[in-house]
Each structure stands twice: as structure tokens, then as C-alpha cells.
């Protein structure tokens, strides 16, 4: 055997802790996954019933991973593998696409792998990703009270007091050096004088004595003080010079708030008997997204939740998302309630108003004129009034629709969407709120 002895390197915890070498690459991969989630968000929303779930909940999101493509053979390439002893022609040994037998050697990457795996995402993270490109459209500045959206912090100058974590070490050290230099210029002169005449003075009295002598000559210390504590000059030249409270410098951080105009969002949901489980699920999904969007992105937007059947009432979040009702439908009742609340609390000259209504459109015919009138009035005072009609596939042929009725409304800020299945929720939601929405006005 050539060469010297084998080298064994012992395991060291410190190395192991230092050796998280893949951290950077994992982070980058994670970012890519995030992008991929954003691209497939519509599918994820449709699949996952996220309504009313706590924000910390972890959701498993299936990911069509970030594939690494290469030139590989397709399905018409036969393979070879080992059997259990009595393989016969015609025997089925697996399925195409997945768990294909073959070499277990991953390195070559010679087969199109099914790069499909799940990743854990918290609901909050998901919501953040979803809403990255959305904001309340047509937000106008209205007078008086302004509300905050987003806030961020910004560094601004330095202070003598502050919390530990903002301590600026460099500046603090600099302060100490400055204080040290300023404190005793004369003692420095003593030390320099000693350097110049070092040899002969030290021979007689030793360093401490020599310093005392010079200090006396220079008039830095008087005889009395020296008599009381011989070597005082030496101690002052070689003194410790600890940090002082006054040296400490802290970074100062200011909170930078972005002011937005007042806004109130009014969610109106039809909870009548004709809204079956599926329809309610779709409506609630839509409002859940809206509610999450507003409460994540705008700090002080006021949200009003109205549930209506033949009568309307303002309800809490809990009731809005979880309680079922029954009865007939007067859509106008919901609008009237909204108008009433607006008149009482949110004057249109001060507030940006957004109203969204979800219903299956199965209104009593007699109510249609009233509903139309109220809708026009709402559209007149709101920045945006959206109507989402929920018609699960198959049901719309034998039920009446409000879409036809509302077609008569000419207001440019009135929008309708049709939600037929859960996959439609995200696109219709985006259609309402997309940043780059084409302004028809």
C-alpha cells in the first residue's frame, strides 16, 4: 500500500454546527418554490378549504416542483430489471409514469422523474403570496381622517439612549476614544517625556519613580498627591479606561407610515334558503379572501359585514362565515341596509367605499326594481361596487339571474362576475382587485 497512514478526522460539534452549507441554496430553492406557488395559486385556493381557518395553520401545498429538465428517453424505451425468480412474459410489473422499475441510481437522472412533492406553507404565508399584486382599486384621497396602510421602519440618526439591540458598537467605541484623548492631554505629555529621557531616569528610580518625577516637573501632579500615593502618575498613564454611560450611542429608528385615505368595505352576502351548501361555500370563500386581503394589507380599513335574506342585518365575522340562515330573498334589503349604514357612519365625501355582494341571483321578481334602484344608488356613492353571482354549473338554466337585471346599470364602477365553480373564485377575485386593472372610466 502506498502513501502514509490513514487519516481519521474526529467528529466535532463545532464543525457540524458551522457546516449548514446548503442553507443558501435551500433559501434560493424556497424562493423558487414561492414563485411557483404564486403561479399556481388559483389551483391551490380551489383545492384547499381555507375558509375561517386560523392563520397559523399549516397547509400542504402540492407543488409541481421546479423541474430540472434534461434530454431523456420517453416511454417507448424498454428497461431491464430483476425479478423474484419466476418472471413470465406478460406479467405486469408496474405503472408507467411512476415507480418505474429500473436502476435505482439517481445520479444519472435518466428518467423523467415525477417531480411532484408537497411543501408546507402557513396560511399567513399563502395569503401574503396571494395578495402581493393586489390592492383596492380607485382609491381616492378624501378629506379629514386618514388611515394607515403598510408601515415600515427607517433609520434616522443616533441617540444617547435606546434599547440594547440598536447599540451602535462602532460609534460607541469612537466616543470612548474621543473621551480618552480629551480627558488627560498632560498625562500623555508625561509619558512622552519619559520616552525621551528613558535610560538615565529609569536607572535611578525605576519606571514608576521616573514618571512621578516628570509629572512633578511638568506640574501635572503636586507633591502632596504624590506623597499620599507614590506611583500615581504611572497609574494614570497605564490606566484602565472603561466605557462610560455617556459613550453609548444607539441607532434611532423611525416608523414610517404610509397614509392611505379612509376606506370602508361592505360585504353583503345572501344567506337565503336557496343558497345551498355549495353556493354558500363559494360565497364564503370569496368573502374570506376579501376579508383576509383587507385585514392583511390595510391596517385600519373598516369592514362591515351584512347578511340578508328577506331582511338584512349587520353581523359579526363569526356569524358571517359560519352561520346558516333560510328564507326568501330580497336583495334590495341588503342594499338598503348598506345604504343605511353608509348614511349613518361613512359619509361618501370622507370615505372610500367598496361594496361587494354575493348572491345566487334567485331574487323575488317583485323585488327586482327596488334592487336595481338601490344598486344604482350604491354604485353612485361607492368607489367600486361588485356583484358576484354564484351559479354552480347546471343550476343556472332553471333559476333566475340578477346579471340580466343589473346589465341595465351603466355606472363604470359597477362590476359583475359569474362564479360557477371553485376554480372561478380566484380569477374573479383578482378581476375585482387587480392593480393593473384597466380603468374603464
Amino acid at each position: 500500500m502506498s502513501g502514509g497512514d490513514t487519516i481519521f478526522r474526529e467528529y466535532r460539534i463545532s464543525d457540524a454546527e458551522r457546516s449548514d452549507r446548503s442553507a443558501g441554496d435551500r433559501l434560493r430553492h424556497r424562493q423558487k418554490v414561492r414563485e411557483s406557488i404564486r403561479e399556481n395559486i388559483a389551483d391551490i385556493i380551489a383545492e384547499e378549504s381555507i375558509i375561517g381557518k386560523s392563520k397559523d395553520r399549516v397547509i400542504k401545498v402540492p407543488l409541481r416542483g421546479i423541474k430540472e429538465y434534461r434530454f431523456v428517453y420517453g416511454d417507448n424505451a424498454p428497461g431491464a430489471s430483476q425479478g423474484d425468480g419466476d418472471s413470465r412474459p406478460g406479467q405486469v410489473v408496474g405503472k408507467t409514469g411512476k415507480d418505474r422499475p429500473g436502476k435505482g441510481d439517481e445520479q444519472a437522472g435518466d428518467r423523467p422523474g415525477v417531480d411532484y412533492y408537497e411543501t408546507d406553507v402557513t396560511l399567513e404565508e399563502l395569503i401574503e403570496i396571494m395578495f402581493e399584486d393586489l390592492e383596492l382599486p380607485n382609491l381616492e384621497r378624501r378629506a379629514l381622517r386618514e388611515i394607515q396602510s403598510d408601515y415600515s421602519s427607517r433609520r434616522k440618526g443616533y441617540r444617547k439612549v435606546g434599547i440594547r439591540i440598536r447599540l451602535d458598537k462602532r460609534r460607541t467605541a469612537k466616543q470612548r476614544v474621543m473621551r480618552m484623548l480629551a480627558s488627560d492631554k498632560r498625562i500623555d505629555a508625561v509619558a512622552r517625556a519619559l520616552e525621551e529621557s528613558k535610560a538615565d531616569r529609569e536607572l535611578d528610580t525605576g519606571v514608576e519613580g521616573a514618571l512621578d518625577e516628570i509629572a512633578l516637573e511638568e506640574g501635572v501632579l503636586d507633591e502632596e498627591a504624590l506623597a499620599a500615593s507614590p506611583g500615581a502618575a504611572f497609574q494614570r498613564v497605564h490606566r484602565r479606561f472603561p466605557f462610560h454611560q455617556n459613550d453609548l450611542r444607539y441607532k434611532h429608528v423611525e416608523i414610517d407610515t404610509k397614509e392611505e385615505s379612509n376606506a370602508a368595505v361592505i360585504c353583503i352576502m345572501d344567506t337565503s334558503g336557496s343558497m345551498d351548501t355549495m353556493k354558500k361555500y363559494l360565497a364564503r370563500s370569496f368573502f374570506f379572501l376579501l376579508y383576509q386581503f383587507i385585514s392583511t394589507r390595510y391596517r385600519n380599513v373598516e369592514i362591515v359585514l351584512i347578511a340578508h335574506h328577506t331582511e338584512a342585518s349587520e353581523v359579526t365575522e363569526e356569524e358571517f362565515f359560519h352561520k346558516g340562515e333560510s328564507g326568501g330573498t330580497f336583495i334590495s334589503s341588503g342594499y338598503a341596509k348598506a345604504l343605511e349604514i353608509i348614511a349613518a357612519r361613512y359619509h361618501p365625501s370622507l370615505w372610500n367605499l367598496y361594496a361587494f355582494h354575493c348572491s345566487d341571483g334567485d331574487n323575488f321578481d317583485s323585488d327586482n326594481p327596488a334592487a336595481l334602484k338601490d344598486a344604482e344608488e350604491l354604485a353612485g356613492i361607492c368607489n367600486l361596487f361588485g356583484y358576484g353571482e354564484i351559479k354552480p354549473l347546471g343550476s343556472r338554466y332553471y333559476e333566475s339571474s340578477m346579471l340580466n337585471v343589473f346589465r341595465r346599470i351603466q355606472a363604470p364602477n359597477f362590476h359583475t362576475v359569474l362564479i360557477e365553480r371553485k376554480e372561478d373564485i380566484w380569477p374573479s377575485f383578482k378581476a375585482f382587485l387587480a392593480k393593473d386593472r384597466v380603468k374603464e372610466a
Partner: protein
């Protein structure tokens, strides 16, 4: 790099310390030397499971350039490990001089001993097999480290940045296996290719030139680029795309060099694992282990080299063939003597010769016998609709075809061969690439995406000639997108 998979059995905890390992290593080395193994100096590093996962994600390299795909690979390995789907390898060795191997610190003493012996098998193979001659083992670690530093510098360079680097690396990774497979064959320089073309054009000297009419010599076209079809896609682009910046060319070189380093591993997986298993078995049997350790050895050895129905376990197949070669040259049956003649070499001589001059494809072609195939029940399967169905088994009529299929699936044979035919196709700098079709079609979705990467690196239109469902077709990829045309 080579790694023994953990077969899953929970190892018994036998207390040991580093001095025990040093002592065992000395004994194992003595045995290995006695058996005639010829190794690089060896270094062992003990690591924990996160360390091992890290090494696995980066192909065992102590330093490696960053790329998100390694983060992905780490996450995947970790998920599989955390959920108990797959265990960690007992060891991992890389081909370098000195050879570096990682040992799991949580393993029992016997596993460490077994692993050390196994590692010396790999070490000997790395040093002596011909496919590894082109990987300069003394420089491996340094080369990877230097490449890593350069890539990091490009990432940090404000005028380049991570997005740009990833754009090139993503594309280069997709094409990295499209390179020469047998590095022992020298690649001719353009000048040498020119000389060869000239020679070929002149034809054979005619001994009867006085009575024959003089043949018209057709001058070869020296303007064609490349003169001979070129397999090194990345290098070809590097040398022929004038719009690439130096750092882009450097990235292509780095990826190509790394791919060529791993081609050797890929080409010898079965031989290499079989060889290491053969020797760990031999060494451990000669160490006179006490009974407890011996039983543990047998259990673990059998876990590693067991046949896995529905797969080809390289440890099993390799070990079987090595043992069979040794037996046929030491103790052949009467029938074998009648068929092949009496062996002229001893078994030991023969296996040492084979470990030097073969790679997986030739190893299987020459030494996997009909009897052995039948014993191991190797079959061929193909896709029929949604199902994979056994199409041929190793019987009298079928065994040679099954063997041919097996050979088509080992080493680099499992990667389609693509060659650049013309860099100025249609006189508009379109890159013409040809897939050398051998009955297996390309996976079309993967071909499309990979061709996109090729176009991105080439900067102009690229076309790929291939055969789809028996029809010659041309896959085109340009700024307007991807299209498939049938060729006459």
C-alpha cells in the same frame, strides 16, 4: 462519489472510539495490501446525519459551487430521511487523491469496519480503473473549490448577480450529460480533424494505379463547423457562440468539467459497487471476527447485496458477476471448459485485469453469462398502455436481447446521444443537432424544455433531428417558440 445505501436495519449500538477505528483500519489495510489492492492514501471523516445529508446533496464534495438545485436535493433527501422512507448511506467515498470517505458516527463498530473495508475496495477501483484516468485525482478537491469560488464571485459581482448566473447554470445543467462518454478516447483538435478528412478523401492507395483510370478526388469541405459531429454540447457552444461573456464561458466550462468527472462514476457504478462489496466480504471474512460481530456482518452484508425485485441492485449484480468470473477462472465446470477452454489465467489475475480495463457496459457484455442471468431472473419490460409489462425473460431465445436491453440502460447508455452536426445550418447560424436514435424516442416534453435551454445558450435558432414514432422529425426552437416538423 459512491455511497452504500443503508438497508434500513437498525444497527446495534456497540461502543467504540476513534482508537478502535484506527486499529481496525490498520488491520484492514494490511489485509487489503495482502490481497493486492492498490489504493490512494485514505482519509476518513466522521460526520453526523446533517453532515451526511449535506455531502449527499453536493455529491460528496467538501466544497461545491452554489445552485438552488442542491438546496432542492437536500430538502428532498431530508424529507425522505425524516419520514423514514430511506436511510442514510453508511459511507460515501469520493474519487480524489487522497481518497476522502465520510463515516456516520452513529453507526456500530461492525458497520464502521465493514464500511472501511468497502471504502478500500472503491479506493482501489478509483486508482486503477481506466475510466478514472482522465479525472486528475490529486486535483479533484482543489478544482471543485476553485470552481466554487469563481461561481461565488460571479454571484456577488454587481454587474452579474445570482439571476444571471442561475440563467446560465440552469441551462448548462440541462445539457451537462451531453458530452463525450468515453474520455479515454482522445478528442481530435480541428486541425487533426482536418488532416483526417483529407486522408479519408484521398482514399486507399491504389496498387494498380498504372492501369486504372485516376479517381477524381473530391476535396473535403473545410469550412464546415464542426468538421466531425461534436458531442460536447456545452464546450461547442462555449467555443462557437461569439456573444458569450467570459464569465458565461467559464460557467459552461465548470459545469462540463464536473459532468465529465461524474461520467466515470456513472460508467462504472455496477463494477465499482460490486468490486467494493467483493472485497469487503473477503477482507471481513479474513479478519477472524468474533462470533457476535460476524453475525452482524452477515446480516448487514446480505442487506446491502440482496436482490431487489423490480430493480437492478448494482451491489448485487456487480458482486454476482465478480464472484462468477473468479469461480470460472479458478474452478470451472466441465461444461464451461468444453465451451470456453481451460482458463489461462488465475481467478485473481483475471479479476484484477477486468477491474482495470472494463466499464459497466463491456463488463456486462463480456461477463454476464446466460446461467447467471437466469439465476438472477433478469427480465426486460416495456410500457403497454398504462402498465409496464414483462416482455422478455432470460430464457434460451430471449437472454441475449434482455442482456442488450440491460446494457442499454447502464451507465451513460441511458442518456440519449446528441451531436452537433452543423453550426451554420441554412446559412443563418442555426444550430443543427442530431439525436442518434437507437430505437428509443426522446421524452418530448423534456426535449422541448431542454431544447429551450440549448437555444438560450446558443442565442439563435436550434433544431434537433430525431425520430418520433418511427418518423424522422425536426424539433425547432426559436424566438417564436417550439415546433415539430416531419422530415422526409
Amino acid at each position: 462519489m459512491s455511497a452504500t445505501p443503508n438497508a434500513g436495519a437498525a444497527p446495534r449500538i456497540a461502543p467504540w472510539n476513534l482508537n478502535d477505528l484506527v486499529e481496525w483500519d490498520r488491520r484492514i489495510r494490511d489485509k487489503a495490501a495482502e490481497f493486492g489492492l492498490d489504493c490512494y492514501p485514505q482519509e476518513f471523516e466522521l460526520c453526523d446525519h446533517t453532515g451526511m445529508l449535506g455531502y449527499m446533496a453536493y455529491s460528496g464534495m467538501p466544497s461545491h459551487y452554489p445552485h438552488w438545485s442542491y438546496g432542492k436535493s437536500y430538502e428532498k433527501l431530508k424529507t425522505l430521511y425524516d419520514h423514514g422512507v430511506s436511510g442514510l448511506p453508511y459511507e460515501m467515498v469520493i474519487d480524489s487523491n487522497p481518497a476522502i470517505a465520510y463515516l456516520m458516527r452513529d453507526n456500530s463498530l461492525l458497520l464502521q469496519v465493514l464500511t472501511i473495508a468497502h471504502v478500500y475496495g472503491h479506493n482501489d477501483f478509483f486508482k486503477n480503473n481506466f475510466t478514472f484516468k482522465s479525472t486528475r485525482a490529486e486535483l479533484t478537491i482543489e478544482a471543485f473549490k476553485a470552481a466554487a469560488m469563481r461561481v461565488r464571485r460571479y454571484v456577488e459581482d454587481p454587474s452579474i448577480g445570482v439571476e444571471q448566473v442561475e440563467r446560465i447554470l440552469d441551462a448548462a445543467h440541462a445539457l451537462s450529460w451531453q458530452c463525450r462518454r468515453n474520455l479515454a478516447i482522445k478528442k481530435l483538435t480541428p486541425l487533426e480533424q482536418m488532416a483526417r478528412a483529407e486522408e479519408t478523401a484521398q482514399g486507399q492507395p491504389d496498387p494498380f494505379q498504372k492501369i486504372h483510370a485516376r479517381k477524381q478526388i473530391e476535396a473535403p469541405d473545410f469550412h464546415k463547423v464542426p468538421l466531425e459531429p461534436d458531442e460536447d454540447l456545452l464546450l461547442f457552444i462555449r467555443d462557437h457562440n461569439p456573444f458569450l461573456a467570459d464569465w458565461e464561458k467559464d460557467l459552461l466550462t465548470i459545469v462540463d468539467e464536473e459532468a465529465k468527472y461524474f461520467i466515470s462514476m456513472m460508467e462504472t457504478k455496477i463494477m465499482n459497487e460490486g468490486w467494493a462489496s467483493y472485497w469487503h466480504k473477503k477482507i471481513l471474512e479474513s479478519l477472524e471476527l468474533e462470533q457476535g460481530l460476524h453475525l452482524e456482518f452477515i446480516v448487514n452484508h446480505n442487506q446491502v447485496v440482496r436482490p431487489i425485485p423490480g430493480q437492478i441492485n448494482p451491489y448485487h449484480l456487480g458482486l454476482k458477476i465478480w464472484e462468477d468470473i473468479y469461480r470460472r477462472f479458478t474452478n470451472p465446470t466441465a461444461e464451461e471448459i468444453k465451451r470456453d477452454g481451460s482458463p489461462v489465467k488465475s481467478g485473481t489475475e483475471k479479476i484484477f485485469e477486468v477491474r482495470e480495463v472494463e466499464r459497466d457496459a463491456s463488463f456486462i457484455r463480456r461477463y454476464l453469462t446466460e446461467d447467471l442471468m437466469r439465476e438472477m431472473d433478469i427480465f426486460e419490460y416495456e410500457a403497454r398502455g398504462e402498465e409496464l409489462v414483462v416482455s422478455k425473460v432470460a430464457d434460451e431465445e430471449g437472454w441475449q436481447e434482455v442482456k442488450a436491453t440491460l446494457i442499454k440502460n447502464v451507465g451513460t447508455n441511458s442518456i440519449p446521444v446528441l451531436k452537433v452536426e452543423d453550426a451554420d445550418f441554412g446559412q443563418n447560424r442555426t444550430l443543427y443537432v442530431k439525436h442518434y436514435h437507437d430505437g428509443r424516442d426522446l421524452h418530448i416534453e423534456y426535449a422541448e424544455k431542454s431544447l429551450n435551454y440549448l437555444q438560450q445558450l446558443w442565442g439563435r435558432e436550434v433544431v434537433l433531428e430525431t425520430v418520433l414514432d418511427g418518423k424522422r422529425s425536426l424539433l425547432c426552437c426559436n424566438d417564436r417558440g417550439f415546433s415539430v416538423r416531419a422530415l422526409k
